[in-house]
Subunit: 131 residues, 2 copies
Amino acid sequence: MEKIPILKLGDLLLVSIQVDMHDRLALALQDDLTGQVVKHKARGVLIDISALEIVDSFIGRMLSNIAAMTRTLGAETVVVGMRPAVAITIVELGMALNDVHTALNVEKGIALLESLIREREAVEAHEGPQP
Amino acid sequence: MEKIPILKLGDLLLVSIQVDMHDRLALALQDDLTGQVVKHKARGVLIDISALEIVDSFIGRMLSNIAAMTRTLGAETVVVGMRPAVAITIVELGMALNDVHTALNVEKGIALLESLIREREAVEAHEGPQP
């Protein structure tokens, strides 16, 4: 397994993380995901972590980085499928998932992304060139 | 990683296979997937194998079995994301992917599933109770 597949669903990208992330794989995912956001002009990214039993500070930082990178490219990121035990650990360890939106599952994640995208488009329209 | 996540998208289920399948994991996936089809009354199953570099006869049989099982429960299965090298191997080795529909990617897979579901509903309506 040299890389994590990125699935295209309309103008969203879906990534399901199922394997232990190490440095190289995390970097490859960041590269790949930012590349795909640009290639497909994606407006949103869904990251499913339902397979992860542990989210440590390394994974947390990776998720924050991906959210910040995709936002710079015009796409919002929502992390879905977090297990209850993972949510407990994140709060107890005081991990800051900066800028990372979360939702219960893929369907709620898609709904959240749609509202984030609409919000962003409203801001962009407002900031657009004046007549 | 004790099991492969199954993501719900409307009345479809999406599975992305990223790890080497062994007997126990394949059985767990079959159990889990058939359970989810019943639980969510799913009409279609998408299996993404874009991460797999090799599809051997074990994986081929598992895909055929899943397709047959889900069909018995009223859901069609489409395998998506097959790599060119995998397609070559499957044909050269004469592997029979019985009953397994395939499509290039998730989006084309969803379109194929929708037409298979419509076809099936038409047959079911035709075979339904007579007035």
